[in-house]
């Protein structure tokens, strides 16, 4: 009956990694996501051409499998710019936007959701009515309004996405905290005299980290599509700066005679989103098999 006879389970990092990378690890999705992040960091070093370099003589070259040359593997656009190099350059915007937008909306939403869920009462009522209002506004309408106020660009994109997505985190965190705060160990922490900040950090946050991680991963894809949509509409990144959305916008005039110019960035967006969704699904199953509705 003493602790000595209790067998210690394997807390080792090795065992945890083994179980993590066992059957069902989404190698392809993880590979694509890691690849995108790596390209965002070292892009200029590996890209074959200057992404902004014009070469009007080689405009509208098709991809290599459609009769093009290996010098431009994914073809060129209307100004002779190398599409492959531009896609690599576009990863930077996607990664930066995804990182900051998810970090900011997640942090703001988590704090607000914790306050609403833990304190309840009028704080909860006000916050949840705000969330309802937020959810009733179409994101693009909000983007149009904000774009009128803000200078278009990377910052504006991050702000628009943060304003759109914080309410998601707030709602989910509130729900989690509502059930967590009824746990007996939370009541005992209050009895012990712990303040709200200690209770958040020690008893609530560790229990919602998994949920947040899953939500954030699933959102990478949405954020990338959102950025592309904003840039496509001219509310986000502006040409000649490069993002996948800008490439779509630039190429849409030539869709009939140069399909690859608009297809290639589209495929890049699709693959990245698909990878983030599949990876997020896997993460959800691994971290919390009970939670299927995220």
């Amino acid at each position: 009956m003493t602790a000595e006879t209790t067998r210690l389970p394997d807390h080792g990092i090795g065992a945890q990694l083994r179980s993590l990378f066992g059957d069902g690890f989404p190698w392809i999705s993880a590979g694509i996501l890691v690849g995108v992040i790596l390209l965002a960091m070292v892009g200029p070093m590996v890209s074959p051409w200057q992404p902004g370099a014009l070469d009007l003589r080689s405009a509208f070259q098709p991809p290599v499998w459609a009769g093009g040359a290996w010098s431009h593997p994914l073809g060129t656009d209307n100004l002779g710019r190398d599409i492959f190099s531009r896609i690599i350059a576009g990863t930077r915007v996607s990664v930066i936007v995804a990182f900051w937008a998810i970090l900011l909306s997640g942090a703001i939403g988590t704090i607000i959701g914790m306050i609403a869920g833990y304190f309840g009462g009028w704080a909860d009522t006000i916050i949840m009515r705000l969330v309802d209002m937020q959810l009733s506004i179409p994101p693009l309408a909000l983007a149009l309004i904000l774009a009128a106020v803000l200078d278009p660009g990377l910052q504006a994109v991050v702000i628009v996405i943060t304003v759109t997505y914080w309410s998601w985190y707030a709602r989910i965190v509130r729900g989690e905290v509502l059930s967590l705060r009824e746990r007996e160990y939370v009541a005992l922490a209050r009895i012990a005299g712990c303040g709200p900040l200690t209770i958040f950090a020690r008893h609530l946050a560790p229990n919602i980290v998994n949920t947040l991680l899953v939500l954030a991963t699933l959102q990478v894809g949405q954020v990338i599509i959102f950025e592309a949509s904003l840039s496509f509409l001219g509310l986000g990144i502006q040409s000649p700066d490069i993002s996948w959305g800008v490439m779509l916008a630039d190429a849409r005039g030539y869709i009939t005679n140069a399909w690859w110019a608009i297809t290639m960035p589209g495929v890049a967006i699709m693959l990245t989103c698909l990878a983030s969704n599949l990876f997020g699904d896997w993460l959800r199953d691994v971290l919390d098999p009970k939670r299927k509705q995220l």
């Binding site: 602790a3 210690l8 009895i191």
Partner: protein
């Protein structure tokens, strides 16, 4: 007196009306003594624990600790209350955060007090583990590495380590295996003797209370119906509800049969507390005034009182209860 409830009421407004979970309960807990609150599920005894622990604020009435009203406490007084009054809950699987090591769980109340350095806290953790009969190594392990009884020992160690004056025990043994219950109760008794603690124990198990508490209060639907020294309550219960509770407790006696007709139906709803005496719809001895007037307290023995019309009125009532009873059984 150390801890006192003064005419405590806790009403929860809901869509379907007001739930009167606790409706005017008073008692005092003396230093070094044990007060037991007993009653069926839904009688408001757990709400009482929450009120006494300042987890909920009373609708009216007051909780008084050492002469001071706890809802008015701020700063140092509140911190002292948070040290002096600790709790052990029913379910040792829910009351220990699974992500914290046992050492940290036990240290939490001391860390919240902020007056001890890490070395002193570690020493106290080891002491507390020793008092409850666990190895000092236990501090490095996680709760899931212990059995239910060991976990409850950890919960007791946690309550104890901060050197409280009162420990509120909310059904401390009802989630444990029968074989472990006596161990935990003996442990709690030893600790009480050694440290001069006061206990407020909340239980539905009468057998547990009989040998453990000095004073017992019986609750029914948010009301205290009878209160007094435990021996007096168990030997000469005056309230029909107390009598029924005692009669329905299983006894290790093969010739003893559980009475079948003493108490009628289920506990009523706190949403619609019956008029008059809250117990009257289930009472085998009800008569004329029971459904209109809630009886006042009446002394039945030294230090004991009960709230029942039988104690007020003349003993001419006996004819009536049978009447009521037979009417009911026919319908």
């Amino acid at each position: 007196m150390l801890l006192e409830a003064r005419d405590l009421k806790k009403h929860y407004p809901t869509r379907n009306g007001v739930v009167k979970a606790v409706d005017g309960v008073s008692f005092t807990l003396e230093p070094g003594k044990t007060f037991a609150l007993v009653g069926e599920s839904g009688c408001g005894k757990s709400t009482m624990a929450k009120l006494m622990l300042l987890l909920e604020r009373p609708t009216s009435g007051a909780v008084v600790y050492d002469g001071q009203e706890v809802t008015a406490m701020r700063g140092r007084a509140l911190r002292r209350f948070r040290r002096d009054v600790q709790a052990v809950f029913q379910d040792p699987y829910a009351s220990l955060n699974p992500r914290l090591r046992v050492g940290k769980i036990i240290a939490e109340p001391m860390m919240a007090q902020g007056d001890l350095d890490r070395g002193a806290i570690r020493k106290r953790v080891a002491e507390a583990l020793d008092v409850v009969g666990l190895q000092p190594d236990a501090a490095r392990l996680y709760p899931h590495e212990f059995s239910g009884g060991q976990r409850q020992r950890i919960a007791v160690a946690r309550a104890l380590a901060v050197r409280p004056k009162v420990v509120i025990l909310d059904e401390p043994t009802s989630a444990l295996d029968v074989s472990i219950r006596a161990q935990i109760l003996n442990l709690l008794s030893d600790i009480q003797d050694e440290y001069g603690l006061s206990y407020l124990i909340i239980a539905h198990d009468l057998a547990l209370v009989e040998h453990f508490s000095d004073v017992t209060g019986v609750m029914y639907l948010g009301n205290m119906v009878e209160q007094g020294p435990t021996a007096s309550i168990f030997d000469t219960p005056s309230h029909p509800y107390t009598q029924a509770l005692l009669a329905s407790a299983p006894r290790p006696d093969p010739d003893h049969h559980l009475p079948t007709d003493v108490i009628i139906g289920e506990i009523g709803s706190a949403l619609a507390v019956p008029s008059g005496c809250p117990f009257h719809p289930r009472c085998p001895k009800r008569f004329a005034p029971c459904d209109s007037e809630n009886p006042e307290r009446r002394a039945t023995a030294p230090g004991t009182w009960a709230r029942c019309h039988l104690l007020h009125g003349p003993d001419t009532a006996p004819g009536h209860p049978e009447l009521h009873l037979s009417e009911r059984t026919r319908s």
